[in-house]
């Protein structure tokens, strides 16, 4: 017991791998056993995370529940994990969404064993990013999570659809989307990889806390690298490294104009894959900003905050317009992620510019809460799109219409979740978006004002989505015969229930979560 409580994080991190091994040993034919084993095993990290949350001392600075072991001694990299209020929130989001995504995947019959195993590996990859306190370890988990996602999209993605690439060559959409996803992200990570190597070479350690201190201690005007006879100063190198980090994380978030992989990947991914992709994977990018970019590059972040805010506003406005223009329901929701994650980045940019002030703390609180909230509502929205798609085999908004009388419960849930996404007061999205706007208004007034225009269009596209699906003249095709639309079933309601409860609870009483986040923000970015 002593061992368990002192290794709680390690246990949460590797339990999914262990469960994947158990799933591997099950016979291929017994679908039921595979599903239930994977699902119940994924509940264990969730329960452990709740224990973690309860034992976590939010007022205590620094990292808690740390574990450290030798890993790659020759490079001075260690297996070092720990959480603070920021990572704890993200760990909770991950361990909460994974069981729900697995429950949402109970209809997968094709190679179910491999599917569930990949999902469990994915969970470990994501958790590892949030827990790592060693930069090399961070990178390991950052990259390794791409592999399961690639195969999930590539193998279990939607079977229909072709993309024409150049010279009229046609490829299956899911192949196109999955390759674009992994190559885009890997190419984006190259700069990160090189910058990490530079840090390792300079300081002979990958430990985050020593890197923060060492990197800051470098004299800005002293020479660091040679470039064709010229000497690059520390500040130049830092600026380049800053952009290397930013681009790699910006692709993951994604920020305009690096977002184009996202609509493709989301649209082609299986339902549960989209849930995790939108719910957790996008947060990895934002987490990278908060954990690495701001503490490592405070000067550069402040200097370039205006640019970052500009890109964030672009993401908000264009994301909203693009979502409004979609005919495909899933693509609409995908672009809404670009729109919502834009707010997270806006908050981060404001915090970078006004570091240390009250406004910065407020917008950081908003950004972190928005990450959590978007995780809930985006996962919910993708799941609801999946529910509809499974019954109708179409995602085209023109094919629906007036479905509310046929599926009243589904309709209610869809409206509820959409409203959370829209930012209706009383639901969670409002709290976090308000905090971001409140924090960034005095710092980046113009950008925030433009972002408000984007918010207007957020309302427009969400209402458009609801209208085309639920309201208007009923499409008779779905009302009778073999195509008769069936109501959302119990399993699907169980997937949605925790999400809806949290959406409501955080909307009405955000303090329990904001308390943890706020204390963490005050301590990390003081």
């Amino acid at each position: 017991m002593e061992f368990l409580s002192s290794h709680l994080l390690t246990l949460i991190l590797f339990f999914p791998v262990l469960s994947a091994v158990i799933v591997f040993c099950l016979p291929k034919e017994s679908l039921k056993a595979i599903r239930w084993t994977a699902f119940s095993a994924s509940l264990v990290p969730f329960i452990l995370t709740i224990i973690l949350w309860l034992q976590f001392k939010s007022g205590q600075p620094g990292f808690q529940f740390e574990n450290q072991y030798t890993w790659y001694a020759a490079l001075h990299s260690t297996y070092h994990v720990g959480v603070d209020g920021l990572s704890l929130t993200m760990v909770l989001l991950t361990t909460l969404l994974t069981p729900l995504a697995l429950l949402a995947s109970f209809n997968i019959a094709d190679r179910a064993k491999a599917y569930f195993m990949l999902f469990l590996f994915l969970e470990t990859g994501m958790l590892g990013v949030f827990m790592s306190l060693d930069l090399l370890l961070f990178f390991v988990f950052w990259e390794i999570g791409l592999v399961p996602m690639y195969f999930l999209i590539n193998q279990w993605g939607s079977e229909k659809g072709e993309r024409t690439i150049w010279k009229g060559i046609k490829v299956q959409s899911r192949n196109y989307a999955s390759l674009k996803f992994i190559i885009y992200t890997m190419a984006g990570s190259l700069g990160l990889l090189l910058a990490i190597q530079l840090l390792g070479v300079l300081f002979n350690t990958y430990d985050l806390q020593s890197l923060y201190a060492n990197w800051k201690a470098l004299e800005p005007s002293s020479g660091l690298l040679h470039f064709f006879g010229r000497v690059l100063t520390v500040s130049t190198v830092k600026t380049i490294a800053f952009w290397a980090f930013v681009i790699s994380f910006a692709i993951k978030v994604p920020i305009w104009p690096f977002h184009t992989w996202l609509p493709d990947a989301h649209t082609e991914a299986p339902t549960a894959g989209s849930m995790i992709l939108a719910g957790v994977l996008l947060k990895l990018g934002a987490y990278g900003f908060l954990r690495l970019v701001l503490p490592l590059y405070p000067m550069e972040s402040a200097k370039f905050a205006g640019w970052l805010a500009f890109l964030a506003v672009m993401a908000i406005v264009f994301g909203a317009f693009a979502a409004f223009g979609q005919k495909d329901f899933k693509r609409l929701v995908a672009y809404s992620s670009v729109n919502h994650m834009g707010f997270v980045v806006l908050g981060i940019a404001a915090a970078a510019k006004a570091a240390g002030t009250l406004n910065a703390t407020i917008s950081l609180n908003g950004a972190v809460l928005q990450m959590f909230n978007h995780g809930l509502s985006a996962a919910g929205m993708f799941f609801l799109v999946g529910v509809l798609y499974e019954r109708t085999h179409t995602r085209n908004l023109d094919d629906f219409g007036g479905l509310f009388p046929l599926v009243p419960i589904y309709g209610g849930i869809l409206i509820f979740t959409s409203m959370a996404s829209l930012g209706l007061p009383g639901l969670n999205g409002f709290v976090s978006e308000f905090l971001i706007v409140r924090g960034s208004w005095p710092v980046l007034t113009v950008s925030t004002a433009l972002a408000m225009l984007g918010l207007l269009f957020t309302g427009a596209y969400i209402l458009k989505g609801i209208k085309s699906v639920l309201h208007g003249p009923m499409n008779e095709h779905w009302s009778k015969g073999v195509h008769k639309l069936t109501e959302i079933n119990l399993r699907e309601i169980i997937v949605m229930a925790p999400l809806m409860i949290l959406i409501l609870v955080i909307g009405i009483f955000p303090a329990w979560m904001l308390d943890v986040i706020n204390k963490a923000m005050m301590m990390i970015y003081k």
Binding site: W71, Y72, A74, L75, V140, V147, I182, Q197, F227
Partner: protein, 490 residues
Amino acid sequence: MQFPFLSVIVFIPMVSALVLLLFKPEQKKAIRITALTAALLALALSIWVYFAYDKAAAGYQFIEKYTWMPLMGISLHFGVDGLSVPLVLLTGIVMVTGVMISWGIEDRPREFFAFLFLLASGVFGVFVSLDLFMLFFFYEIAVFPMFLLIVIWGWIKTREYAAMKLTLYLFIGSVISLIGALVMFWTSGAHTFDMLILETVKFSPVFQKIWFLPVFLGFAILGGIFPFHNWSPDGHVAAPTAVSMFHAGVLMKLGAFAALRVGIMLLPEGAKFWSPLIMGLALVNIVYGAFIASVQTDFKYVIGFSSVSHMGLVMMGFATLKPEGLIGAGVQMFSHGVMTALFFAAVGMVYDRAHTRDIPKLGGMIKPLPMVAIGVIIGSLVSMGMPGFSGFVAEFPIFMGIWKTQWMVAVLAAISIVVTASYVLLVVRRVFFGKMPAEFEGHISPINVLDKISLILLMGLMVGIGVFPALMVPWVQSGVQHVLTLLGGV
């Protein structure tokens, strides 16, 4: 006196090659079982040597020395250090898996295994030799059977051309290196071929600068260094499966290893002088190799050119002359050996069943050959340097070494990571996923138990080292320490 592990390891394959020839050609089963037993014995001994090697003490261990030709100062002098002991293990592994995968060879298995084992003896010999003359002796022993193996059992379309090309390239290379070695022998004045003594001789800087390049490049040809690499993809493709495994898995390391042992360790000043050039060539290897691999349509050529790209990383690691770079190169030799052995084994398994290696004609192979598909997927992840697999453990320190010497090279070399990722993923998808062409339906038989054991062994090594670098890095690190001392404690 201690049990002579190293000479037993070196001579087991040679002796069993002779034993194999005593069988009648019809006794195929007995021949195969004998071959497997001998290979397992060699593997068991190399595992023992690997784990018995004292990393803390470092230096050369398991030393054996027998006078051979005192007049010329030649002796049979064996010993392993931290850099060679993983390669001995690698040779043992490739030997066992090579035999298991060639179980089904029906055409003169007796001669096939005999030649393969002669080759293995040569490879073991190079890795453990501490005598320059013996190193050459075993080096030639390793190269020659390759010619016969390719010409007799190779791919009918290109085998004569490829075998000729390969052998001529390698002989020219080794002759150049041999001249260098003889010059060292005369100049040193120590009147010995013993490398431990030659290491301590301080050759004049001018001498080192003149002779480093021929010696290093002569061996590096076998390591596939640009622009002398183009024997290697042809050779890989023409060779039968087990030979390709040996060839890419072990033989290319022979070149790299000898280039390090003789070139860098005996002529350190020359190495420092020429390292920018070697780095430049290796950079071409890495990036150009990856691009060429990405446009191949023959499955085996893809792997062949990817080997060129990956061996470039080994040369790059050497050329940095930095601890990280050398450690990375040492691990990369092992990691690439295992990975490429697995790739060639998998290609062979697919080819034996589909009778084509043309990627556009293949598809859906994961259904009948799931284990092969998983093996190739893991190999691909290693190949693209995915963290958590052995490729990352090797490549990351190499890049750190480059940062310490010339950081712009690191930026350029990093391009290859993305190129590699895109082509390996495409190949995996085209060969193993998608719809299987109708002509293969029902014709693809599952792989046998021996194939499965080989694949699992190779996969396990790649994942094991990737997750626990401590399984291999400390060994290499102890060997690198000695190289650095010779380089003047850089």
